[in-house]
């Protein structure tokens, strides 16, 4: 009863994933959008991104830390998003090739 054939499993993954995609919108619709909530949502975007990259950057090899440092520096200096991204990825590739 709790074991699924492969196609059913894919279908269930599809439903669960879509629910996470709409879940944030549905949840927020239960609240009035006060200035305080706006601040929270503002912080939520950055917080999600920090939580997304920081743990994986600090574990594993040093490539993650190098990528973040290089991408952030190039972005702050040049304000060119594409250049910053390419430098970040290239720095990681270079680091791994040298070691």
């Amino acid at each position: 009863m709790f074991e699924l054939t492969a196609p059913t499993a894919v279908f269930i993954m599809c439903v669960v994933t879509y629910l996470t995609r709409v879940g944030g919108l549905v949840f927020m619709s239960w609240f009035a959008i006060t200035p305080r909530i706006t601040n929270v949502l503002d912080a939520l975007a950055g917080s999600t991104m920090v939580a997304l990259i920081l743990p994986s950057a600090l574990s594993g090899d040093r490539a993650g830390v190098i990528t973040i440092a290089v991408a952030a520096t190039v972005m702050m200096v040049t304000k060119n998003a594409m250049a910053a991204m390419i430098c970040g990825v290239a720095a990681a590739a270079l680091f791994r090739a040298v070691l």
């Binding site: 709790f2 492969a6 994933t17 944030g24 619709s29 950055g46 939580a51 743990p55 720095a91 990681a92």
Partner: protein, 230 residues
């Protein structure tokens, strides 16, 4: 806030430059899926219906001819729980549209198109098509990549060696640098970072993003109490 074809096209254009990377990751998934015993058709169907790389890779760990329901739901939810704060952060703009459009616009919500659109909305852009159109390009590329990987197994064994696993990290760093608002960002981001590190160290896999995000949001809630009273 609108959801227009023009917006979809703009979003698609902005994501097109990442297509080659998504293609390679899709191929890597196709290869891994084949090794885990999924038929090519099933792997392609999964990419088309689920469209969530981390979740798809994660379930391969325990994939079998009969798949156990509980781990499947748990792992899929945990790897995709980051969509919840992502969707919530879009709400202030999306609430200006009727529900059918909101539900449609998040159909292809994923890391890259969310980070891009979130940033664009902050800079005055008002078209949810950015999210949907950008995601559609990534979706199509993800499916094509899966097809390539399933058909010609072994071509992309290790995208990490090329530094490609760093693409998402690099992209998010660039967006984050632009989101920085000085003191208002400092406390939530530090709290989010610390919480995610603790969750990553001590909790089962994949909970760190959602918990870090919630902690950061909560920190903003606590520190912005005075601004509302003024």
């Amino acid at each position: 806030m609108v959801l227009s074809w023009t917006g979809c096209l703009l979003g698609a254009q902005s994501m097109l430059r990442y297509a080659v990377f998504v293609l390679i990751f899709g191929a890597a998934f196709g290869v891994s899926a084949g090794e885990a015993g999924l038929s090519a058709w099933l792997a392609i169907a999964m990419s088309a219906l689920v469209f969530a790389g981390t979740a798809q890779m994660a379930v391969l760990e325990f994939w079998a001819p009969v798949v156990p329901l509980l781990p499947l739901v748990m792992v899929t939810f945990a790897t995709n729980a980051r969509h919840l704060p992502m969707g919530a952060s879009l709400y202030p703009w999306f609430r200006e549209m009727p529900w059918p459009k909101r539900l449609l616009a998040v159909l292809t919500l994923s890391d890259l198109n969310w980070a891009f659109s979130q940033n664009a909305f902050r800079h005055g852009e008002r078209d949810a098509g950015l999210v949907l159109g950008g995601g559609l390009v990534l979706w199509v590329t993800w499916i094509i990549g899966t097809m390539i990987g399933s058909s010609f197994g072994g071509i992309v064994k290790n995208p990490a060696a090329l530094g490609l696993d760093m693409l998402m990290m690099s992209f998010v760093t660039v967006i984050l640098t632009g989101l920085w608002e000085g003191r208002a960002s400092l406390i939530p981001w530090v709290v989010a970072g610390a919480t995610s590190l603790m969750a990553y160290t001590w909790l089962p896999e994949n909970w760190h993003v959602i918990l870090g995000a919630i902690a950061g949001g909560f920190a903003a809630w606590l520190t912005s109490a005075e601004t509302e009273d003024r």
